[in-house]
Symmetry: C2
Subunit: 314 residues, 2 copies
C-alpha cells in the first residue's frame, strides 16, 4: 500500500484530482507533519523544513520524499542517503517566477519605478534620471534551469550574459561561460551580478569583500539563490561604502531577516522576503510533477523527474 502524506495545504480541487486519478493510493491531507510517525507513511510530500532527523527516524516505512521546493539543503540528506530513500524536488517550476522576479527588479531600478511611486504619494510631477538595460552586461552565478531562463530573458533585452559555474561548461541563455576560478577577473565589467546558486558545500561563502571591491561602483548585486553565498556584513559594508550601487536580496543568512539587520534601512538595498519563486500557479505545477513521478512509482517503470543526489545535495 502506498501511503502518501502531504504536509502543506492544497485546494479541494487538487485533492479530488489526486484521489480520483490514483484510487489505489491512500492520501493523507494533514497540512502538517505532526503525528506522521504513527501513519506508516511511504511517500512524504513536503516543503522540506518540517522533516527533521527525529521525525525521519520515526518514519520507518518511508521510501520517497517529494520536496515541493528547489532547495534541499534543510533536509537530513545524509540520513536519507543512508536509507536509500528517493528524494525528488520541483526545481523546474521555479524558473518562470524567479526569472520574472529578477527581471522585474532590474527593470524597475533602471526605469526608476521606486521613485515614480514615491513622487506619486506626494503628488509630485517631476522628471527623474533613468537608464536603459540594453547594452549592459550580466554575470550569472549558477547558469542552470533558473539561471538559463534569466539569461534568455536578459538576452532578449540586449544584455550580454556570462554564466559562471563550477565547470565553466556551455549553458543555455549565456553568451559566454566561465568557471568559478575566473569570477574575480570578470567582476569589473559586470553591471549585474546575479546569483541563483543553491547551497552546497562548494558554493558556501564563495563571495567575500575582495569580490565586492572588484565590482563596478554602478553595479547591482542580486542574491536569489541561498543566503550562505556571502556574509551579510560584507554586503552591508559594500552598500554603505558605495562599492556597488544597489543590492536586491531575496535570500538571507537568517530568515526571516531579523528586525535588527541594517539591510532593512539601507536605501540602496531591496529586501525581498524570499518570495521570488512564489506564484499563484506554484502548487498546481508542483503537483503536476508529483503526479508524473507517482505514476512512475506505481508502475515501477520509467524514469523519475528531478531526482536529488543526496551526496551532492542537488
Amino acid at each position: 500500500m502506498t501511503n502518501v502524506l502531504i504536509t502543506f495545504p492544497i485546494k479541494e480541487k487538487f485533492r479530488q484530482e489526486l484521489t480520483g486519478k490514483f484510487p489505489q493510493v491512500h492520501f493523507d491531507f494533514s497540512d502538517s507533519i505532526e503525528g506522521a510517525g504513527d501513519k506508516k507513511v511511504t511517500v512524504l510530500v513536503t516543503y522540506g523544513s518540517d522533516l527533521t532527523e527525529e521525525i525521519l527516524e520515526q518514519l520507518t516505512d518511508l521510501k520517497w520524499v517529494m520536496v515541493a521546493s528547489a532547495g534541499v539543503d534543510k533536509l537530513p540528506l545524509e540520513k536519507l542517503g543512508e536509507r536509500a530513500i528517493l528524494v525528488t524536488n520541483v526545481s523546474g517550476i521555479h524558473k518562470t517566477p524567479m526569472a520574472e522576479s529578477v527581471l522585474a527588479h532590474i527593470l524597475s531600478l533602471n526605469r526608476a519605478l521606486p521613485l515614480i511611486h514615491e513622487q506619486q504619494k506626494q503628488k509630485v510631477w517631476e522628471k527623474m534620471k533613468s537608464s536603459e538595460l540594453r547594452g549592459s552586461k550580466a554575470l550569472i552565478l549558477g547558469p542552470g534551469a533558473i539561471g538559463g531562463e534569466i539569461g534568455r530573458l536578459l538576452q532578449a533585452f540586449g544584455v550580454y550574459t556570462i554564466g559562471c559555474s563550477r565547470s565553466g561548461s556551455v549553458h543555455d541563455g549565456m553568451d559566454e561561460d566561465i568557471s568559478f576560478e575566473h569570477i574575480t577577473e570578470r567582476l569589473p565589467e559586470a553591471d549585474y551580478i546575479i546569483s541563483v546558486l543553491p547551497s552546497t558545500p562548494e558554493t558556501r561563502w564563495i563571495l567575500d569583500r575582495s569580490h565586492f571591491q572588484r565590482m563596478k561602483k554602478t553595479a547591482v548585486f542580486m542574491n536569489f539563490g541561498r543566503g550562505d553565498l556571502v556574509k551579510e556584513e560584507v554586503i552591508v559594508e559594500a552598500l554603505q561604502q558605495g562599492l556597488i550601487a544597489h543590492s536586491v536580496l531575496d535570500v538571507f543568512e537568517q530568515e526571516p531577516l531579523p528586525v535588527e539587520s541594517p539591510l532593512w534601512d539601507l536605501e540602496n538595498c531591496t529586501v525581498s522576503p524570499h518570495v521570488s519563486a512564489l506564484s499563484a500557479k506554484y502548487v498546481e505545477r508542483a503537483l503536476e510533477i508529483f503526479k508524473e513521478n507517482l505514476q512512475v512509482w506505481l508502475a515501477e517503470n520509467g524514469e523519475f523527474k528531478n531526482v536529488i543526489e543526496t551526496k551532492r545535495g542537488y
Copy 2:
C-alpha cells in the same frame, strides 16, 4: 549658409562633435528659442513645444525642423506644411526605453514589487501573493516601432500579443493583428491593454466607458502614447468601480497632471510623469539621427530619416 539653432541644452562633448564634424555649419547652442527671429535660422532643433505659430512666422528662413521627440502634435503642422518646411523626428530612439518601461511596470505589478518596498519600510517579513506574466495575453494599440518592441519582449516572456492598428495589417512582435473596428470584441480576453498610439484625429478619444466595461476585472490598462486617447474621468470611474484591476499612465489629458486629479490618490493607478521614453542615452541618440540627416541636407543627396508628413501628423 546653414544656421542651426538648438533650443535645448546639450553637453559640451556633443557640441564639439557637431562643430568639428560640420565646419561649414553655424551652430547656435542657445538652450532656448528666445530671440530666434533675429537669427536667420534655417534649421531648428527642438523638443517641439517651444515652436509656436507666432515664432514660426518670425523664422522666415526656416527650412527644416528637427524635433527631438516622437510626438509632433504640439507643432503648428498646418503652417509648416503650407511653407513646405521639412519636419523630422527621432521616433526610433524611443522604442528601447519605452518598451523597457512598459515591461518594468508589468513585471513589477506581477511580482508585487510595490508591496515588497512598502513592507521593507516597515521591516515586515511576510510572503505576499504574486502572479506570473507567462501565459497571459496583451492587446497593443499602435503596433509600430515602439509597440513592436513591446510585443517582441512580451513574446519572450510567453505572452500572446495582439496588435491593433487602423489597417489591421501584419506587424512585427505580434502573434495576431486586428483593426480598430475589432477592438471591442477582443477586449474581454486581454490581460493587458497597452496603448502607444500617437495623437492624431483618428485616435483621439477612441476609448470610452463601453470599452472599459468589456475589459477583464483583472485587466491592467496602460497608456504610454498620448493623453487624448481616453477621458480621464472614464479611467477614474473604471478604477473606482473595479471594472479593471490597475492602470499605469505615463501620459495625461493635461500635463503636468493637476494636483486636483483623483488619479494621484487611487491605489490601483500608477502615475508616471511622462518619463517612459527618457534615458541617459536620449540626447546622444537624438543627435546621431540629426547628424545623419544633416549630412543628407548638406550633400543635397540621400534620403532623410524619420520624415513627418505634416498632413497625417506622423
